[in-house]
């Protein structure tokens, strides 16, 4: 029973971690930008929800109606006026610009809000629900639902709208995208705006789940990195699974060993590529039906980043065809 309780807590917590990684996955996988300010966006989202709750007396979940568009426009404007220009001269200048934005935002928040620890509390923050003998915090269920909805909406947006397709096209081939009538600069900025908008959701999760300081951004940035690496760049479904894996590790390791276990896991992933072995195995299972493999490559992510194994098997396929 205890084991089941731990696993369920981990999975529920995983939703929060998935949302933390979502925006980072968009920046890294699609805009090809290492946005060091993403952690500060998340904290900014937390403050936004806190202020809206205090000023308007609305439920924190309702505050997203304002904080999501607010962070979208902030992300869009920062990208179009600052980062896009830096990206023209390479990825390092862009990295430095985002580092600068991170420092400015962190100090601005310190100036405005002070160094106090903050938390978003509600009447239902401490309610637990008893399901089949397990006591589950209501908040964790709500946050997992929120994260699921956010991820689903993003997935639909990327696949069903002209703008979503344009974002994927720009990620794939910028020149061909502009030849298809897409303004690359605007589209990159929209993608960054969406990444920042997911930070508003992540900020709410962080604020309701834990306490934060103006300087907490770096901590969440690091977690976002780990989740993106585990889940694969720009891969929505992968991000969700990675979030849950990360959540499980936090719960199993507890407060003392949770992060340690996650970073050891990250090193294992980076050095031994166990996920590639898994993909290779799945490929072998699927190779009996070539058409299926081709369809399967569409994946569930908005952009499926090719691993070496996938690429090799694709090449093999095309040489088979000729």
């Amino acid at each position: 029973m205890y084991v089941l309780q731990v696993i369920i807590n981990g999975i529920l917590l995983g939703g929060v971690y998935a949302v933390l990684g979502l925006g980072m996955s968009l920046s890294l996988g699609i805009v090809k930008l290492t946005n060091l300010a993403h952690g500060e966006y998340i904290i900014l989202g937390a403050y936004a929800s806190m202020l809206l709750q205090a000023w308007l007396g609305i439920d924190p979940f309702l505050s997203l109606v304002i904080s999501v568009p607010f962070l979208f426009f902030a992300g869009y404007l920062i990208q179009i006026f600052l980062v896009n220009r830096a990206m023209m001269s390479g990825s390092e200048p862009a990295l430095l610009v985002t580092f600068g934005i991170s420092v400015i935002l962190k100090d601005a928040m310190l100036l405005v809000f002070g160094a106090d620890a903050r938390h978003i509390a509600t009447d239902y923050s401490n309610i637990t629900v008893d399901i089949a003998g397990l006591s589950i915090p209501l908040l964790n269920i709500l946050l997992l639902l929120l994260s699921g909805v956010a991820i689903l909406l993003l997935h639909l947006f990327m696949h069903k709208t002209y703008t979503g397709r344009a974002i994927r096209a720009v990620s794939d081939d910028r020149e061909a995208a502009s030849l298809s009538g897409i303004s690359v600069g605007h589209t990159l900025a929209v993608a960054c705006g969406i990444a920042a908008a997911t930070a508003a959701v992540a900020g709410l999760c962080v604020g309701m789940k834990w306490t934060w300081y103006p300087s907490s951004g770096g901590h969440y940035l690091l977690i976002a990195f780990v989740i993106v690496v585990i889940g694969g760049l720009g891969n929505v479904a992968g991000t969700f699974i990675a979030g849950i894996v990360f959540g499980l590790m936090q719960v199993i390791g507890g407060a003392s060993y949770g992060l340690l276990i996650s970073y050891i896991f990250l090193i294992v992933i980076l050095t031994l590529h166990p996920h590639e072995a898994l993909i290779r195995f799945l490929d072998r299972m699927k190779s009996t039906d070539r058409q299926k493999t081709a369809n399967g490559l569409s994946g569930s992510g908005f952009v499926t980043v090719k691993t070496q194994t996938e690429f090799k098997s694709e090449q093999k396929e095309s040489s088979d065809a000729t």
């Binding site: 344009a166 502009s178 030849l179 298809s180 897409i182 369809n295 952009v303 095309s318």
Partner: protein, 236 residues
Amino acid sequence: MDSLRIENIKAEYGDFPAVADASITIPQGGMVSVIGTNGSGKTTLMNVAAGLIRPSSGKVMLGGIDITDMEPEKRVSAGLSLVPQGGHCFARMSVEDNLMTGSYDKRARAKSKDLLEKVYTLFPSLKDKRSQMAGTLSGGERQMTAISRALMSDPSVILFDELSLGLAPLVVKNIYERLKELNAKEKVSILLVEQDTRRAMRMTGYTYIMLKGKIVLEGKPEELSEDKVKAAYFGL
């Protein structure tokens, strides 16, 4: 009125002159070709026309409007489309998503359904593979996808940069037949860049021969003798 006029274009990569002086005219509903050896500046000229490269001098006129300083994406909405060398499909997107991306521009978006229908009639094999990732298609299908994506922007002029490159002769023949059909039925003006001199001259009503960044010979196919073309092509 002429559909597209490229006037006295000069373009360089740093100090290296790629196009020294080139003028090309595509009449409304016409089909012209540009031929020349590797490195003669054909692709650069196409990229100048599509707006990917800014010329150091000269003008690009689309239907009487000067578009020399227009962004590439704006040229698409003005009705000019380039199918770049190698097609450049979005490999990690399905065929249909590739095509729909072609209709990104607001003008094309309104009629994207009709355009999609038209494109699938032109290349029925794409309809069967519409949910397949473009990266897993054969070379010919990829080229068809690229052509269809360009058509989805509802262009009045399309430039094709060496679309026969690396394709089987039978596939090329099929694609060229479709282009003829397109030109005859839809009155789309077409410019073909080719290395295959004979096919280009057979397909089009007017041919330009480029060498070292300059147009060295031009004329209707019947006016150009084989000796003259050979001499111009190789710079003899």
